[in-house]
Amino acid sequence: MSAESSPSPSGDLAVAEFVVRVIAETCVENEKYFCDLDSVVGDGDFGYSLARGFEQVLEHWQDFDRTDASTFILKIATAITSRIGGTSGPIWGTGFLRVGMTLKANPAITASDVVAALRSGVEGIKKRGNSDVGDKTLIDALVPAIDAFERAADAGTEASDALRAMATAARSAAEATSAMQAKRGRASYSGERSIGSPDAGAVAVAVLAERLADTWPSRPTV
């Protein structure tokens, strides 16, 4: 997944496994933190829902079809959609589903394929959630993060640096959600009182992107 080379299918699968595993473990580890973020103007279960869902993913880790990277991600998407309740099940499930579907259409995965897949995931989330940039959701962290990744990749940056750029963008975008008024999700019911604290989903995106950037150098290489 470096910006120039198009790695072998088994290399793609290893990368997909690594990324999903980091996401799953990070969500499980941050259960309480993510719940606390959702408590401010939400209902406090965001971390709980993600943790229960990704626990299932980790528990059945060996059972997912590993024909190729996209198949693997599609199976993960199904597991997330089936096991995560609340808003996050459909949102995250749809995101993974679209990523998997887009990658399936591009068997030899390049950095720009990854960007296309992520953008397609975001489009799926927007459609599913009837939401967009500016609504104070995880979309407000995802979009700038993908933009940053794309810029870095286009400039030929190494994957680890592209990920770092992505994480930095996600973090500042997540922090910027503090100033926004929520227009979607439970937080929206509190109207102007949602201003002043960041969106839980956006912060989670920042945490995940940072963790990916941090752990990328330690990924198993094929």
């Binding site: 103007v41 279960d45 959609t81 609340g86 499930g93 227009k183």
Partner: protein
């Protein structure tokens, strides 16, 4: 957090286990999908009525499964819409040739999960319609939300379509009835204390010793505003005014009045509120044709109450008066 609980993750399954054990003749429990269904469901001669939504609102909805009410409920974890899977599998297991009616309180998570499940079930050839309930008047500015929330008023939609489906009404007829009842139902609630979700282990928000949350949501979402505690007469006036002016209800109307406890408020206080609300409606020239006092749609252990009015006509009143049987019983 002091609750009767073993493991927060097992809270919902253990509650459902107890519910099933307490109702061996009438209810069945399918643990994989948090599914509680009538022992005699699905019934080929009846539209199946299913409600999902998060847990923590008991008796809604698992304890309102029974003759004349729901055929099945497949709740999610506390305050979390059920995973799409639960709804899809429940719909398949409970499908009837007359079709399946999904009742959904209007929240983002619930809407999405039910939409997805409906798509998948329809692809499997099941006839499915979805009815959204949004009776909460506390959410004022709907350009900033996905619209009003569904709260305690969902009881009336459930009761009406439940009664009609026992009489053999088809899916279109149930949609008509459900939408009609929802369109004349209005609710507003307030909290004296926050609730404590088992997995969080501490209250969702902090209310001072003399503070209340007006227009609170049943998931502990903050409401219209925080205010000072006031005597019951004033609080009822505020709830009633919000509800009456919204439809609006007018002198000469005949209504059903519900005082719903949010989980931690004793029934003595609910009857006290009922008396005040009844008197105030009478002053406004509005007649209480049916009344409901107790816990219908709660928010875990939250101390608080909501007030619901339903504008009655002959059709609605007959459906509300029809006999029904559910798990919550005294004898």
């Amino acid at each position: 957090m002091k609750k009767f609980i073993n493991d927060p993750k097992q809270f919902v399954p253990e509650m459902l286990h107890g519910l099933a054990l307490a109702n061996p003749d009438t209810l069945r429990y399918v643990p994989e999908y948090n599914l509680i269904h009538r022992a005699d469901a699905p019934n080929d001669n009846k539209v199946t009525i299913i409600q999902g939504s998060g847990s923590g609102h008991e008796p809604a909805h698992v304890m309102t499964v029974g003759r004349g009410m729901l055929d099945a409920a497949c709740p999610g974890d506390v305050f979390a819409a059920p995973p799409m899977d639960y709804i899809y599998e429940t719909t398949k297991l409970m499908s009837s040739p007359k079709g399946v009616l999904l009742l959904v309180n209007n929240y983002t998570g619930d809407r999405m999960a039910f939409d997805m499940a409906q798509e998948l079930s329809e692809a499997d050839g099941v006839k499915v319609r979805t009815l959204f309930i949004d009776d909460d008047v506390s959410v004022q500015d709907s350009t900033y939300t996905v619209g009003r929330r569904g709260v305690a008023g969902n009881f009336f939609v459930m009761k009406a379509v439940g009664a009609a489906s026992e009489n053999g009404a088809d899916l279109d007829e149930l949609m008509r009835i459900g939408e009609k009842v929802n369109s004349v139902t209005r609710t507003m609630g307030l909290a004296l204390t926050a609730c404590t979700p088992p997995s969080k282990g501490s209250p969702l928000f902090e209310l001072g010793e003399d503070e209340i949350e007006v227009g609170v949501g049943i998931h502990g979402e903050p409401g219209r505003r925080r205010d000072k505690w006031a005597p019951a007469n004033e609080l009822v006036e505020e709830l009633l005014e919000a509800v009456v002016s919204d439809l609006p209800f007018a002198s000469g109307d005949r209504v059903a009045l519900m005082i719903n406890g949010l989980g931690g408020t004793p029934i003595s206080e609910l009857y006290l509120l009922y008396g005040i609300a009844h008197d105030k409606l009478t002053e406004r020239g509005i007649t209480v044709g049916r009344n409901y006092v107790g816990e219908y749609c709660t928010s875990l252990d939250m101390a608080g109450a909501s007030l619901t009015l339903v504008k009655l006509d002959d059709e609605i009143e007959a459906l509300l008066a029809a006999p029904a049987e559910i798990a919550i019983r005294v004898f």
